[in-house]
Amino acid sequence: MSFRIRFGLLTLLSISFSIAHSSAASESNLTWVAGASAGSLWAEAGQTQTIQLTPEIEKTYVDAESTQVIPSGEFFFGMQKSLSKQCRGQLGLAVTINDNLNIEGVIWDDTNPQFANENYQYDVQNNRLALKGKLLFDTAYYGVSPWVSVSLGLGFNRAHDYTNTPLIFEAIPNKNFADHTEAAFSYSLGLGLQKTINQHWAVGIGYEFSDWGKNGLGSAPEQTLNSGPSMDHIYTNGLLFAIFYSA
């Protein structure tokens, strides 16, 4: 399913949820809050590694170290409580959907840079469900509230569509590593500014650092040892624009 379609469906889901519970919480100073944010992530994904495919075959996958910008979106749904006159806390669930990050590089056959005979590439896509906590400081300054956030959760990293292309006529394409989805511990740290529009609505802008966690490809046909290229972390830096509704 494309990024845009997933984004749209989740928008409908969270908006309908939040409207239903707007009235109940206001008496106890505990209100429901929902938010949607969208923006761009900068990431430099990929890691050079040597893999022993069989006892006789060993190759080095040399990452091209390219930086990419991909779209990202998040839906937040949780509760908000005043902690002090100026301080609010929010806790809830955040669902994040990220577009594919492209990992690419060149393969050194027999781990030797003399034989850099194939290009390779594949995509990693991250969807994340996390418990997110946010702390807002309400200033008197034009209704602007700076905030900090942290989330801890489970990311589903799908490494897929690995292909390789020979760079010389004599080289024959290798077999492709299989798709593989890894469930990994994933977290994020953010900070930003939020401005209240009226009693219910607010808009914000924020920066968020996240780690997608472990990810990797499956084995290729005829591969008897190990599996495909993998990483322990993918770090991203995001700039997001958000809109919030609180009851």
Partner: protein
């Protein structure tokens, strides 16, 4: 701002490209060098095989065991294990056997793909290389044509005869055509003009209609047959030979003097040829008709009756003399016939003595190869000794030699040599004979004069003087001391009977073979 961003993106891309381009090299881990004797561009018959050989060089610091990716029609003959680069065993000889019967009509183009082997010897497709474009396999499949005969002899102005071309391959043979070299003589034609496309296992029948001109001149001692090269654009070439013959044509070791145009169309004509030279020449090294085993001269004659090969003056057809007469003569002439009994009657054939020289010769040899008679040595009855009588000592014996590569010669019968004789002639001119058909080969003994062939072909050995025939001269009662011979001269040819002790010439004949 926008342009700055585009420019900086461009710079990054350029830097990345340069980094990749200069830091790493691209080269196959193993390379293929084709052999000169067994190159990768070859053709194979649809029923045969061809070998392609490469030298495979390893450029890696790792050793490799290499095996080809399974390819229909291709088999790796020996293992290919290569050590690290710079070591003694870093190359291997890769011999690939191509099996034409497993390839389709398109042949085999590209590859071979050579991969690192797994421990079990199977190729692992995660590390494979192929030769560079110019050194890749390019095997085309030839369909195999075969032809019914490798040699076809026809009579000039005689019956048409056929060659059947068959496509033995599993696919169509395309554009099957033929060409004659040297060109067909005028008047001779081959039809159809092309066999076109021939389906697998189909045939194309070429009919050769001989004109009046032979393929080589009569008397030519080195005649060239016509090579009919038949091939298609995707086939081998078959080259049957065609000979268009007439009397006097040199063929299969001799001059053609009898032609039999009755064999079926798919076969060659039959006939008889006379050897190119004398085995013995009168007045030079003439021999007796039959020898007692001591020599070839008159004093060494052996007068015996050989059964079944006689020819009376009025009859050359009825087999004579009889076996009984021959046996009786033998037993009364020799003393120790119990030790060396006369050959049994089943050892002799009943020949048409006047016309069947091969049969006559067989009977003569049956006798003289079984004993040495010692006829005339001491007093009668004579003492036989074990045979054989030296074949160089007597006329029919001289025809057992290998002449012009053939070993099935015989002493010709009387009517094979001529049709005119004294006294009277028992021969009919309808029996094709040497005197009538080889006129240009006949010269003169005295005064010496060459034959017509010799003026064009100086190495010609002409017929001149007296030559033995294999026909015994049978007067009633049967005589043991007479045989018949032929006199050749440019003025008159005739035959007669005479003493077996005469020292005459010998010239052998044979029946041509398909």
């Amino acid at each position: 701002m926008k342009y700055f961003r585009q420019f900086s993106t461009c710079l990054v891309a350029l830097a990345a490209y340069l980094f990749f381009a200069t830091a790493y090299a691209k080269a196959p881990v193993w390379t293929f060098v084709p052999s000169v004797t067994n190159p990768p561009t070859a053709s194979v018959s649809s029923s045969g095989t061809v070998d392609v050989i490469y030298t495979v060089n390893n450029h890696s610091l790792k050793a490799h065991n290499l095996v080809i990716k399974p390819t229909k029609g291709l088999r790796q003959v020996d293992p290919c294990q290569v050590g690290p680069v710079g070591t003694m065993g870093s190359s291997c000889t890769l011999t690939l056997r191509v099996d034409g019967s497993a390839l389709g009509p398109a042949g085999l183009k590209g590859g071979p793909v050579l991969c690192q082997a797994n421990t079990d010897g199977s190729p692992n497709h995660n590390q494979c290389y192929q030769p560079s474009k110019g050194h890749s396999l390019s095997i085309s499949v030839q369909q195999t044509l075969s032809v019914s005969v490798s040699n076809l002899a026809l009579a000039a102005a005689g019956s048409p005869r056929i060659l059947t071309v068959t496509n033995l391959g599993a696919a169509n043979a395309l554009n099957v055509n033929y060409s004659a070299s040297p060109a067909l003589p005028s008047g001779t034609s081959v039809s159809p003009s092309s066999c076109g496309t021939m389906a697998p296992l189909s045939t194309c029948v070429l009919t050769i209609t001989p004109g009046p001109t032979p393929s080589a001149n009569p008397g030519d001692l080195s005649p060239l047959p016509i090579n009919l090269a038949i091939s298609g654009s995707n086939t081998n070439t078959v080259t049957p030979q065609i000979n268009i013959l007439t009397y006097g044509s040199v063929y299969q070791g001799g001059y053609l003097f009898a032609i039999d145009d009755t064999p079926p169309q798919a076969a060659s004509i039959g006939g008889k040829v006379l050897a190119l030279q004398n085995q013995a020449t009168q007045l030079v090294d003439g021999v007796v008709w039959s020898s007692n085993g001591v020599g070839s001269q008159s004093a060494n004659v052996s007068n015996d009756i050989i059964p079944g090969i006689g020819c009376e003056l009025s009859d050359c057809v009825v087999p004579s003399p009889s076996y009984a007469a021959a046996l009786a003569a033998y037993n009364s002439t020799y003393d120790n016939e119990a030790t060396f009994p006369f050959p049994s009657s089943s050892a002799f054939q009943e020949c048409e003595g006047g016309t069947d020289g091969a049969c006559n010769t067989a009977n003569i040899l049956t006798f003289y190869e079984s004993v040495k008679t010692n006829f005339g040595v001491g007093s009668s009855p004579y003492i036989l000794a074990s045979g054989p009588t030296d074949s160089d000592f007597y006329a029919a014996g001289l025809c057992t030699q290998t002449i012009s590569g053939y070993d099935d010669w015989y002493l010709p019968a009387l009517c094979e040599m001529g049709s005119v004789g004294q006294p009277g002639t028992p021969c009919s001119s309808s029996t094709e004979n040497i005197a009538d058909k080889l006129t240009d080969l006949i010269g003169n003994q005295s005064p010496a004069a060459p034959c017509l062939y010799q003026s064009t072909y100086p190495a010609t050995v002409c017929l001149a003087g007296d030559y033995w025939s294999s026909t015994e001269f049978a007067l009633l009662p049967f005589a043991s001391d007479l045989a018949t011979y032929q006199f050749f001269s440019s003025l008159v040819n005739s035959h007669t009977g005479g003493q077996k002790s005469l020292e005459l010439g010998v010239r052998c004949a044979r029946v041509i073979t398909p």
